[in-house]
Symmetry: D2
Amino acid sequence: MTPAVLIVGATGYAGSELAGLVDGHPALTLAAAMRARPDAPAVPAGPSTRAVEPLDVARFADVDGVFLCTPHGAAAPLARTALEAGARVVDLSADFRLRDAALYEATYGAPHPAPDLLDASVYGLTEHARAEVRTARLVANPGCYPTSILLPLLPLLAAGVVHADAPIVADSKSGVSGAGRAPSEVTHFGNVHDNFRAYGVGAHRHTPEIHQVAGTDRIAFVPHLLPCERGILSTLHFAPAAGCDASVARGVLDEAYAHEPFVTVYPAGPTPELRAVQRTNTCHVSVHDVGPVLTVVSALDNLVKGAAGQALQNMNLLLGLEETLGLRSPAGEPEQGKRS
Amino acid sequence: MTPAVLIVGATGYAGSELAGLVDGHPALTLAAAMRARPDAPAVPAGPSTRAVEPLDVARFADVDGVFLCTPHGAAAPLARTALEAGARVVDLSADFRLRDAALYEATYGAPHPAPDLLDASVYGLTEHARAEVRTARLVANPGCYPTSILLPLLPLLAAGVVHADAPIVADSKSGVSGAGRAPSEVTHFGNVHDNFRAYGVGAHRHTPEIHQVAGTDRIAFVPHLLPCERGILSTLHFAPAAGCDASVARGVLDEAYAHEPFVTVYPAGPTPELRAVQRTNTCHVSVHDVGPVLTVVSALDNLVKGAAGQALQNMNLLLGLEETLGLRSPAGEPEQGKRS
Amino acid sequence: MTPAVLIVGATGYAGSELAGLVDGHPALTLAAAMRARPDAPAVPAGPSTRAVEPLDVARFADVDGVFLCTPHGAAAPLARTALEAGARVVDLSADFRLRDAALYEATYGAPHPAPDLLDASVYGLTEHARAEVRTARLVANPGCYPTSILLPLLPLLAAGVVHADAPIVADSKSGVSGAGRAPSEVTHFGNVHDNFRAYGVGAHRHTPEIHQVAGTDRIAFVPHLLPCERGILSTLHFAPAAGCDASVARGVLDEAYAHEPFVTVYPAGPTPELRAVQRTNTCHVSVHDVGPVLTVVSALDNLVKGAAGQALQNMNLLLGLEETLGLRSPAGEPEQGKRS
Amino acid sequence: MTPAVLIVGATGYAGSELAGLVDGHPALTLAAAMRARPDAPAVPAGPSTRAVEPLDVARFADVDGVFLCTPHGAAAPLARTALEAGARVVDLSADFRLRDAALYEATYGAPHPAPDLLDASVYGLTEHARAEVRTARLVANPGCYPTSILLPLLPLLAAGVVHADAPIVADSKSGVSGAGRAPSEVTHFGNVHDNFRAYGVGAHRHTPEIHQVAGTDRIAFVPHLLPCERGILSTLHFAPAAGCDASVARGVLDEAYAHEPFVTVYPAGPTPELRAVQRTNTCHVSVHDVGPVLTVVSALDNLVKGAAGQALQNMNLLLGLEETLGLRSPAGEPEQGKRS
């Protein structure tokens, strides 16, 4: 009998994307897709057309896994309920991403809703946390921007490719689905279409998360809003350590991700683009010498590898399933970079 | 009697934009809008609907000023003809932007077409070259990316706000009109819409121009292609000199541009966006502290301040007219940043 | 001394467009741009950057003309106040478009807010109401869809080109600015971008307005929402009267609009497109034989000829000014159709 | 052993979409994805990343089915070769859509390339040709516009819902992928983005195909180009027969498509939208009373149900497979209309 999961918050972008993925999963049953709040829309944002039910925490006891796609603050109490009911939990909110309750409070402007659960949670950047995730009961699914930045950056930092004292610039650009499904000035067509701007400069909530996982606060993160629906492209720039160039950095990434199905490192020359990663769980990465700096370009789908797809990778591991189930591209292999 | 000008290359994006501006200019007559090549389209890209005539260099003698909106290589011989005919010239191509014929050859893959004219030409970043432009006969109109980068950067470099040894990252994003009006893989709707990518990484032809004018090759320039038609937003990141922060940098820019009608420096907080500068000749600039770096955001319309508008500023000066004629916003004053 | 006008509701799309037009008007002073409601945004949607003030009806007495850009229902009481203060009024809302208070109530679900003013108002489809507008004190500015449909249709109906008993299909497509500036499901980027749909099928509030002015209810009006910001393209289809074809219909339109600066009738072949009319006050029209029907294509900018531009035409007439002041294209002549 | 197929023309939009579908098909092997011409791009438009090989007709003998995704004129000789090699053929070009070689020549400006094969071919509007397709060897896959128009129209014509003498208007709107992958003025971003226009008015090559299958030339077909990548929405308008209204028409369609997995008839009220059908093989249909006419709205993905998806339906039948294999939505059931 296949394991059963349920989704809380299935009407938003990430939850709806997740419902679509679980619907197509060969070894998981979607027991329920629930609204997080009574006033949430009655239908998902897409692509799943499954009817969405009211929140019913009593049903947490009937499933093996619970996905939480709620705003921060709302997820932690639901996570506790689910854990007490015996379910494994992947939380797509920010509630368990920061290891430090005080930093959470400084960042989110409210006391951490469940500080006692912080130690039990694992930060689920899957490629770098596989062993911990397998034995965890509560996984904090990484933010979309941090995933796009940390996947290329962690191996380069570990290998000493980055100059030890220099700033690391993470100039990121995201489609507007990252701003959520709620109508607002930010998501109004007239403010997005044919427009482009930076936002949250010096103050975005993903900054502490990036610093925490990278182990350094030398990273300057500046997000921008693209006039498209889905995808993040992050351009990283940093002075290399002595003796390091793009070729060295590419070698480090090649080795780190040689056997990873969801990270593709480009050969010298071409660069990732959003179209190549949209609706896939793959992160594409390229490295370039640009005068005084190394420039790393990283692209992923913020709703898949940056949210629902990575969450499913983590749930697969939590439930003892093959990590790639339900996430392979149609051809059964990860996408390759196609354009120069 | 008002001075007369003509435009060569009036069917492309920049030339057509320029035709529209000159049509609305209160003190210039547009004597002719000419095709650069026999096979160019018979109608402008917009907004002008003026009929475009074949190239006729004999008519250069009848006008006071000639705008050259041709590919690089084709402009220089036309510039010579126009100068010999007694006209002032603003060249929107790259032919006279680089001061060094050898660097031109290395960058554009062909010998410089008129090296003897290089000394007579002036690099027309108007706000920083006003006096030279007034007395020049041949102005090299700056590239769109360089304009967006140099306007904020030059005063900061001059004032010592930038750390002396550190890299300066110029992460730029442009609408697709920068790629020109010719159909190609690059400009195909299916490759631009809902897409985003870096291009020319480490190899874009505007890099030597930026280095030359800034007086340093520590600038790492990485351009990206936005899924919109017009506008450039450049995000600059650099380690500040000791004692310098965003407030200091903003003060430097405020002072540099206090009396400039076409550069708007934002107060602390808001950031420029493309919509605020599209179809204006204004460059909007903001400065931010972002952890270890200062981040400067600069936005302009690549077809106006980055091409046709700045060319008209320069032509106004060449012909002894008020610099802002034909370029004011409807309200008679430069746009102000509007959104936070 | 130039006449003075003020705008109520200057923060929405139409009001903001109007503020930009009046700012550039050579013979009108914009005395004030006011918010319609205390909670309206403090800044206009663009392009004007003029500061917007609170509503102050006392100032109606200081101006010659008042533009009302408010929701229906809110305009009528303001119109009364303005008329009593001696100002001429152009109302861009729906309050005075329908001549019959009962039809207004059936359409808008509330009693007409000022039925006694209906007789004093003129329906300002300028090209067809010039004489009445000149002597009026209150002008109902037509809806954007009706303008795009009635400009081509009225002369064809009058000339008997349309088959007397057959349905007239008005299949219209509008950019999303027609849905207003308020954030909503309808205007959310994710629901507009890369999407297209019909809406209000059989129930749109512009239907009674179209029927009233055309003098027939044989018109089937079906609006659609385009994934772009501004512009309406209406495609009309009807069986022609005996002996009538596209050539006859084109002749009728050519004659009707031969001297009209803001209506351009195309020769046989090319069709209008949104880009040719965006940010102009011109309506472009073409006529085609398509098997059993005549097809008429009409394009205009919903915010200019469909709202603010036509309102300014009307105000010019109300105040005894040249009708085209402030509305000419840069070249001083109406746009011509450019592409085949 | 699963049947094997190959695709000729796998680099264009339709061929590439088809390669992606066959890659994910549980009971078909994709033996080869071939270029149609030596100078075709080396990589598919997406989503498949499979390497594309040169055309090699010798391999037609090794497969059970051949998909032809070539320009018209080029398909017919390849079809002959494939049939002689013993393969079943689905031709996505126009070569076998018209039953009459003279009409083909009048429409496509060249003699029919294989008139002797016309009688052997079947027009594969699957829902209306299932029995013939099952026993055919050569299927002409319908055009994208005709599919969107004929699926709703055929049952209504057969049931006598349409007034017998009145025109039927088919006002269709398509994303730009319908114009193909080749760079051109038509597909240039600057001519599509933020634009909308009618084209081929009175002269589109799909008109004879629509007339032939509907059995009447009373249909006025007018296509328009949408500023989005994929999807067709057709709005049909016609006077109903006496006693017929939307409710009657909806009943006819409900009955016709009650057991069809790929046609969804909406209840009264909501209308289809492109987002609901993009990347699915489903056609959504709604019916409305609009004054003197019935209005039918039909939406499908031009690259799936309008091309590759329907081609796969047909190939499934040709090869004796379950018709829906490889075409189901993730949830295993057709999409339902979601928004009102």
